[in-house]
């Protein structure tokens, strides 16, 4: 554990629970646990992709790819827009299933099994 001289353990405390009973939203508690783990991973992949983007921009600018240069990186407004657009594209891809759930609300869709029977008669 990386406790500080005064005894603060940031790894443990950073992930502490807030006081108050946690609500469960999904029908299955394990599904909700898994969704939390997956969302945290989605976040970390997003962070990693932006780090890679920073590395690419340093290379394109002919600057040494050092940790210090990565830490110093500040995107211009145009670069920030490109990076922001990538995250939006990423999120829309990741949560495709929820968009499709929405679209299905207004659609008068049939299962293919039903359509197959119908097509056999027409």
């Amino acid at each position: 554990m990386m406790a500080s001289p005064n005894g603060i353990d940031p790894l443990l405390l950073a992930s502490a629970k807030a006081k108050g009973k946690r609500p469960q939203f999904l029908d299955n508690a394990d599904t909700e646990r898994l969704m939390n783990v997956v969302l945290a991973l989605v976040q970390e992949v997003g962070v990693l992709r932006q780090r890679l983007d920073t590395v690419e921009r340093l290379l394109e600018a002919g600057e040494p790819v050092t940790k210090a240069n990565i830490e110093r990186f500040e995107p211009t407004k145009a670069e920030a827009a490109e990076r922001g657009l990538w995250t939006q594209e990423y999120l829309n891809r990741i949560f495709r299933i929820l968009q499709q759930e929405r679209e299905a609300l207004g659609a008068n869709d049939q299962y293919s099994e039903e359509v197959a029977e119908e097509l056999a008669k027409t």
Binding site: I8, A16, A18, K19, F25, G46, F73, N92, E101, G106
Partner: protein, 418 residues
């Protein structure tokens, strides 16, 4: 890289600005590249939920939740609680809620990691800036009111008051550095868009108002009151809050931003007996009443009447009340934070008749003030916030109602003065 070359019909970017535009000061934590990107992700995720997922909840409500309820019960919904309970059985509400709660918890984790890993340095800097400064008045003997002790507000572990070590300010630094992720930068570089809006409202509506002494209730780390203190530099400003970490951080932050006329006092705003009658020209609360209780609100309203000088004003900035003309679905959605984001009093506070409560505290009907304010931010940095996209976010939008009063001047005294 071909992958990032966008075709001509690629959408124009209208999302949150990059985290690195946030305003820094001497007690602002150092934020690494990846930590900044984590905040960026959190802001984008919140926006994705608000713009892409949440509208589906409204659609599912109309398409299946409401019809199913009406078929089953043979009648319509009678209140917002019935609507909310019906929604909890719907897949889209469940997933939107589960993701929103998870993202809120991830935001706290991200901010706490940033601040706790450098706790010693942050706490030392705050101590150096506030030690022996009479503008910081702490009362460690203060009994924590139930409205703060019951739950950690908005899932912020340790809430406003917990000190992990003596002299701790990490909770406040977490609040300050992570609010960008929660709001997508809608409150501006220094999270002060709300305070800026209040200043503009007062300047426009009360152009001759020259307050000498201002009280801010539930000031937290002072982000809402600093614009007021800056706009009226001749005024003495007093911020009251229960949380010592917030107050320490607030003074250190204000000083490093060059604002010297704010005193930070630890106290429960239900008891303002330490302040003299008619000793303030302006009493302000900004997005605070919903974190108190009915008894505290009654005490605040009554004390406000006592503390104001004749001609003085009180302004409470809050989200709109659940008036009878607000659709039950909207009320239920606005209640989300109450039940699922540890803001329990939110639901109770928003159902009362504020005018009636103000009048019971002694403010005549004709002295009441009503208005609306929206966060004022730099449009160069925050085009989306400045433009107000019109996207309803049921309680998160940086636009608020103002309810207040101007304490009447006794007629005879006015004549004497004239």
């Amino acid at each position: 890289m071909a992958d990032t070359e966008r075709p001509r019909n690629a959408p124009a970017y209208d999302g949150p600005p990059d985290y690195r535009v946030v305003g820094r000061h001497e007690v602002y934590p150092d934020v690494s590249h990846d930590e900044a990107e984590r905040f960026n992700f959190l802001a984008q995720m919140n926006r994705h939920l608000a713009t892409r997922v949440m509208p589906g909840v409204a659609e599912a409500f109309e398409a299946r939740v409401k019809p199913a309820f009406e078929t089953r019960e043979g009648r319509g919904f009678k209140d917002r609680h019935e609507v909310r309970r019906a929604l909890t059985g719907d897949t889209l509400f469940q997933w939107w809620s589960a993701l929103r709660r998870a993202n809120m918890e991830n935001r706290q984790q991200a901010g706490r990691w940033v601040t706790l890993r450098q706790a010693d340095s942050l706490n030392r800097r705050a101590r150096e800036l506030t030690e022996n400064d009479p503008r910081l008045e702490l009362h460690p003997e203060l009994e924590l009111p139930r409205y703060v002790a019951a739950v950690d507000h908005h899932c912020m572990p340790g809430s406003y008051h917990t000190e992990i070590v003596p002299g701790d300010i990490t909770g406040a630094a977490n609040y300050d550095s992570g609010i960008f992720a929660t709001t997508g930068g809608m409150l501006g570089r220094f999270n002060d868009g709300g305070g800026q809006a209040v200043v503009q409202w007062v300047r426009k509506n009360l152009p001759d108002f020259r307050p000498k002494r201002i009280l801010d209730l539930g000031c937290g780390l002072g982000h809402n009151v600093l614009p007021i203190a800056e706009a009226f530099p001749e005024a003495e400003v007093v911020g009251v809050d229960v949380g010592a970490p917030m107050l320490r951080y607030g003074l250190a932050r204000a000083k490093s931003l060059g604002i010297g006329n704010v005193h930070f006092v630890q106290g429960d705003v239900s008891d303002l007996s330490s302040f003299a009658d008619e000793s303030f020209d302006w009493i302000q609360s900004t997005m605070f009443l919903h974190e108190t209780s009915y008894k505290s609100m009654q005490a605040i309203f009554a004390q406000t009447k006592r503390l104001l000088k004749p001609g003085g004003i009180v302004l409470h900035v809050e989200q709109p009340q659940y008036a009878s003309d607000m659709p039950l679905f909207e009320q239920a959605m606005r209640d989300w934070d109450a039940f699922y984001n540890n803001e329990p009093f939110w639901t109770k506070m928003h159902e009362i008749d504020m005018d009636d409560w103000m009048m019971k505290a002694g403010f005549p009907k004709k002295s009441l003030i009503h208005g609306g304010v929206a966060a004022i931010v730099d449009p160069e940095v925050f085009p989306e916030a400045a433009a107000d996209s019109g996207q309803e976010d049921y309680g998160r939008k940086a636009a608020w109602h103002v309810i207040g009063a101007r304490k009447p001047k006794p007629r005879s005294k006015v004549k004497e003065a004239a």
